[in-house]
């Protein structure tokens, strides 16, 4: 089975891109499945199931970072999709801090960025972009040619990814993504993350609200010091 992991900031158009690609794969007779990992609300599993009649599933990560959740549940998800008879599994993760890279070896890593999010976005997001195979740029019709070109140049400086500029209406150029996914290798053997996402479960993430280093454990720092560790 082939896997495509799709990451990107909220509202960047991840689901729209996935729908365009699923439509194209379906036309060529490929059986797909879809998993959405989100924090507390998502209905894309229902809309995609209704539109394409394919197996879909969603996971709420709750207090966990969705990309952390992805690491934990993906093994089970592959089994689920395999049993459901899918040839390609799409995993859509809602990145939060945008410092993560949820991509794994052999799977196709796709980052979806909206052109309207500012020209410097590609320089800000790190491994989510630099470790991706394909960078999809959406909403290109809303910005000036200049910003579009700078955005593109900034992607090229940050990553070796293939750049696909697309519009939501027709999904032009998403043919390329469908081809890439269809021709990708099957996942197998030991599954490994491509990069280490900073998803360490920390005291703040699990709900401690006090301000100041005195209240926390784990990897800490002062305003002027380097990182140090407190705890067992």
């Amino acid at each position: 089975m082939k896997v495509a992991i799709v990451a990107g900031p909220p509202t960047s158009g991840k689901t729209t891109v996935i729908r365009q690609v699923i439509r194209r794969l379906k036309e060529s007779g490929t059986r797909t499945a879809y998993l959405k990992i989100d924090v507390q609300y998502a209905d894309e599993d229902e809309t995609i199931r209704a539109e394409f009649g394919i197996p879909t599933k969603k996971v709420y990560s709750g207090d966990l970072c969705p990309d952390h959740c992805n690491v934990i549940v993906l093994g089970d998800a592959l089994e689920w999709a395999q049993k459901a008879g899918a040839e390609v599994l799409f995993v859509e993760t809602a990145g939060l801090c945008l410092r993560c890279s949820p991509y794994i070896n052999n799977a196709v890593g796709i980052v979806v960025l909206e052109a309207t999010s500012g020209m410097n976005l590609p320089r800000k997001i790190g491994p989510m972009l630099s470790l991706a195979d394909i960078a999809v740029v959406t909403k290109i019709d809303l910005i000036s040619q200049a910003e579009r070109e700078v955005f593109r140049a900034n992607i090229m400086a940050a990553a070796k990814a293939d750049i696909v500029e697309t519009d939501a209406l027709h999904g032009i150029n998403t043919d390329r993504i469908a081809r890439w996914v269809a021709q990708s290798a099957d996942v197998g053997g030991e599954l490994l993350l491509r990069g280490s996402p900073p998803v360490g479960t920390c005291t703040i993430c699990v709900g401690k609200k006090e301000i100041g280093k005195e209240a926390h454990f784990g990897v800490l720092r002062t305003l002027d010091s380097d990182l140090f560790y407190r705890g067992e």
């Binding site: 000036s144 200049a146 910003e147 140049a153």
Partner: protein, 274 residues
């Protein structure tokens, strides 16, 4: 003027109209240096037509049109990381950056033509300032520009710094820029300009116009000598409208006597040219 691409022509091969029937106009070819207008009622498919060009359609849009570059499928040109040869300025296109004008243009110039950053920035500003009422101040933020200044700079940036060989403009007449001047300047560039327009002045200052109806290309009309003469009269009438607009903007009144006097001044009496 530097030559950046080796695109010589683009052709749009007709697909089907909204009713599913083949387009009456089977194809149209645009060559470098052409200025073409797309005309037709609202909803006739003008914007879809330029979107097809922008997307280098290959029978994969609702119109099923195909775009050829130099007679070959455009997909040969839209390689993954190569530069897109087309600039599209729509009514929604905007600058989102709040950088100062000069810094913004310089940044774009540096990624495009690193060897002569400063001179193309100045050329761009000069171009834009010929199209606007109030000159653009280089030190203010891009987002502080007026609507007209923004359109003028979008156009100037795409033409001069972007140096795109194909430039598509959607209803630029709504922008409040100097249209005759724009057409005059654009004719000096070896590029393909396509205007979606409702403006007779822009249509008649183009070389040709494609007539759209019901999502399909109907025919091409070449602007000939008689229409060029008419264009001169339309220019006078249009300038009169602009003058009336200026009077109203200034807080003054426009009366029947003033209108008659102005019409008379450009050679019209009792609404008829003697």
């Amino acid at each position: 003027m530097q030559k950046e691409s080796n695109i010589e022509s683009i052709a749009v091969i007709g697909g089907r109209g909204r009713d599913g029937a083949p387009e009456p106009l089977a194809s149209i070819e645009l060559k470098m240096g052409d200025v073409v207008s797309i005309v037709g009622p609202t909803g006739s498919g003008k914007t879809a037509f330029i979107n097809d060009i922008e997307l280098l359609a290959d029978a994969n849009t609702p119109s099923r049109r195909r775009v050829l570059i130099n007679g070959r499928p455009a997909s040969d040109f839209s390689g993954s990381n190569s530069k897109h040869p087309i600039a599209l300025i729509t009514q929604h296109t905007n600058f989102l950056s709040d950088l100062p004008v000069h810094r913004f243009l310089r940044m774009h110039a540096d990624i495009r033509q690193s060897d002569k950053g400063e001179s193309v920035v100045q050329e761009t500003l000069d171009f834009a300032n010929q199209l606007t009422g109030e000159p653009i101040i280089e030190t203010i933020g891009m987002t502080e520009l007026s609507g007209g200044q923004t359109r003028a700079l979008l156009l100037a940036d795409a033409v001069v710094i972007g140096n795109s060989p194909i430039i598509l403009l959607d209803e630029i007449e709504n922008a409040g820029i100097h249209r005759t001047k724009a057409l005059e300047l654009l004719h000096g560039f070896q590029k393909i300009f396509v205007f979606v327009t409702h403006d007779p002045r822009i249509a008649l200052l183009s070389d040709r116009r494609v007539v759209m109806k019901n999502g399909a290309m109907q025919k091409v009309i070449c602007v000939e000598a008689d229409e060029r003469r008419a264009a001169q009269e339309i220019k006078k009438l249009d300038d009169l409208i602009l003058e009336l607009r200026a009077i109203i903007r200034n807080g003054d009144r426009v009366g029947a006597a003033l209108l008659e006097e102005r019409l008379h001044a450009i050679g019209y009496q009792n609404g008829v040219k003697p």
